[in-house]
C-alpha cells in the first residue's frame, strides 16, 4: 500500500498545488519522484512528530493541504495532543497517513504495532477515519480525502498486500463498499483484513451459507444507512479488523446499534485483537492467528452463531 500511496500522492500533487507532503524521516527513496517534481512541497520533518503535526496545522490554516506520513503509532498515539488541539480543535484539513497499521509490523514488536489508533482518532470531534483495504481503495480514498474539507486520518498497511479490487473503485467517504451481496451473514471488514474476509466468505458459501461482504473503509462517519439495513435483514453481522476490540469498527458498530430504538434481528460478532501486547517475536500471519483473525475462524464462528440464531428463532416461534 505504501508504494501506491507514494505514487498517488505524487500524481495528486501535480493536479493540486495545495498538497504538501511531510514525512517523519521514513520512506527512504519512496518520495524521490515527488521531491524531484515539487521540492518546495516536500519536507522531511525529522523524528519529531509533535512538531510535524503542529506544522501541518499551520500549513492548513494558510490554505494548503498537508499530508503527514510516518509509522502509525508515531503519527497517532505519540502526537495525539497535537492532533486533538492543532488539527481537530482548529478544524483544519490535515490528512494524517499512518503506515504499517494494525499488525502490519508485527515482527517489529509492540512499539510498532497500532491496535489503538482507530479508537483514539475516532473519538476526536470532526475527524474522519479511513481504512483502505488495498492499494486501489487507498488511491480512491486518498483522492476523496484531499477533496474533503476537514481532518482525515488514513490508516494504511505496508507493502505487498494482496489486492481485492482490480480497478479504482468508486468510493464515497462514509459509504461502505458492498463487494458481494448475500442474505445470511454480513461481513463488515475494515482495512487490510478484507482479503481474509473474502476467503471467509468463500468458505461460508461452500457450506451453503450466503455471505455479504462489505468493505467498511470509513469507520467514522459510520455508514448508518447500510447498518440499519443489514441489522434488520441478516441473522449474523460480523465486524473484522486488525485493531483492538476496544473502540475499533466493532466497538463503533456496537455503540451505534445499542442506541437504536429498535431491536436488531442480527447477532453482532466482533473479530479483532485482544486487550494485550504481543511480547513474543512473530510475523503478521501468526499475530493474526493469535487473535483468531483468520478466514477459518471467522467462517466457523459465523456458521456456529448462524445455527444458534436460527435455532433460537425457531424456539421463539414455537
Amino acid at each position: 500500500m505504501r508504494n501506491a500511496f507514494a505514487a498517488e500522492i505524487t500524481a495528486i500533487s501535480q493536479e493540486d498545488p495545495r498538497v504538501v507532503l511531510l514525512s517523519g524521516d521514513i520512506g527512504n527513496r519512496l518520495f524521490d519522484k515527488f521531491r524531484a517534481q515539487s521540492p518546495e512541497r516536500f519536507m522531511n520533518c525529522g523524528v519529531a512528530e509533535a512538531n510535524m503535526m503542529g506544522l501541518a496545522s499551520g500549513l492548513a490554516m494558510s490554505g494548503l493541504r498537508p499530508v503527514t506520513y510516518t509509522i502509525t503509532p508515531f503519527t497517532t498515539t505519540r502526537c495525539f495532543e497535537q492532533i486533538r488541539v492543532d488539527v481537530c480543535y482548529h478544524e483544519v484539513p490535515v490528512i494524517i497517513v499512518g503506515t504499517g497499521s494494525g499488525l502490519s509490523y508485527a515482527g517489529l514488536g509492540p512499539t510498532h504495532h497500532s491496535c489503538e489508533d482507530i479508537a483514539l482518532l475516532r473519538s476526536l470531534p470532526g475527524m474522519t477515519v479511513l481504512c483502505p483495504a488495498d492499494s486501489w481503495e487507498l488511491r480512491a480514498l486518498l483522492r476523496a480525502a484531499v477533496k474533503h474539507n476537514g481532518p482525515v486520518y488514513m490508516r494504511i498497511g505496508k507493502k505487498g498486500e494482496p489486492a481485492v479490487h482490480d480497478c479504482l473503485p468508486e468510493v464515497e467517504i462514509g459509504k461502505g463498499l458492498v463487494l458481494e451481496k448475500g442474505t445470511d451473514v454480513c461481513l463488515l471488514s475494515t482495512g487490510n483484513m478484507l482479503p481474509e474476509v473474502v476467503a471467509a466468505a468463500a468458505q461460508l458459501k461452500s457450506q451453503g451459507i450466503s455471505p455479504q461482504v462489505v468493505s467498511m473503509h470509513t469507520v467514522k462517519p459510520l455508514d448508518t444507512e447500510l447498518l440499519s439495513t443489514v441489522f434488520a435483514e441478516f441473522d449474523v453481522v460480523a465486524t473484522v479488523e486488525e485493531h483492538s476490540l476496544i473502540g475499533g469498527l466493532g466497538g463503533a458498530v456496537a455503540e451505534w446499534v445499542v442506541d437504536q430504538p429498535w431491536t436488531p434481528r442480527a447477532k453482532l460478532l466482533r473479530f479483532g485483537c485482544e486487550d494485550m501486547f504481543l511480547h513474543e517475536s512473530m510475523e503478521q500471519e501468526h499475530a493474526r492467528e493469535r487473535f483468531g483473525l483468520t478466514s477459518h475462524n471467522i467462517s466457523e464462528q459465523c456458521q456456529d452463531w448462524l445455527a444458534r440464531r436460527r435455532a433460537g428463532l425457531r424456539l421463539g416461534a414455537a
Partner: protein, 277 residues
Amino acid sequence: MSIALDTSLEEMQAIARRIRGRLVQMSHKAQTPHLASSLSCVDILVAAYWGALAIDADQPHDPLRDRLILSKGHAATTLYAALQARGFFSEEILDSYGTHGSILAEHPSPNSAPGIEAGTGSLGHGLPIGLGMAVAGRIQQQPYRVCVVMSDGECNEGSVWEAAMLAPAQKLERLVAVVDYNKWQATGRSNEVMALEPLVDKFTAFGWSAYETDGHDIAGLVDLLRNVPDGSGKPVAIVAHTVKGKGVSYMEDDNNWHYRIPTEAEVASAHKELGLA
C-alpha cells in the same frame, strides 16, 4: 501588505498602561487567574501590534498579513485587550470576556474573534503552528512574518525544541519567537524547575539568530521585531527579560499572582499606580 507604523513611543507606552489597567479589571470582573502572566507580556504585544507587524484590523484575513500567535494562551486577556485597542473588535465584545456564551474564553479559541491566529492554552503548540505558517508563506511566495510569543515555562515542552531544531534547518528567516522570560512558571522559578539557562545560548546553539532585551523596553522590542528577517538567513529568537506582574508594584515578581484574583480595592489601587484613576 504595507502599513503605516506611526505610533510614537509615548503613545505606545500609554497604550500599554491602559491595557494593564484593563487586564486588572478583567481579572477581577471575570474572576479569572493568570493576571501576572498577562501583565508580563503587555509591552511585547504592544511593540508587535503598534510598532512592527504589518496588519490591518479591517482585513484580518489578508493572506499577506503578518501573524502573531500568543502561544502562552493563559495570557489571553492581553491578546484580547490589545486586539480590541488595535481595532480588531468592539468594546462590547471585550466587555463580554468571562460571561456565559462570550466568544472570548479564558484561553483563545480558534477563529473566535478577528485577529486571533490560533487557539492556544495547551503549551508548546504555537511555535510548531507558526513554523507551519512560515513554511506556507514560503511555498505560496507570500513574504509575511510570523511572530510567536511564548512563556519561559512553556519552554519545558519538548515540542518547542522540536520546532527549534527544524526552523533553522529550513532557514525560516521570517519566523520570530519571543520568549516572555519572567523567570517564573506556575509553581516555581523557571530556571529551578528545569535547567532553562543559558536560554539565549540554547537558541543560538540550535541555529537561531538570538537576541536578548528588556521585555518592557518597547523601543528596543520594536527595533528587534522590525528587523526580522535580520539578514542572517536564520529564524530570530528574542529572549525578552520581563517581570511577572509588571506595572502593579504589589504584583511584581510575586508568583502568587499567577492564580490570585484582585479585589475591588486592589483594582482601584492598581489603576491609581498606573495613572488611570
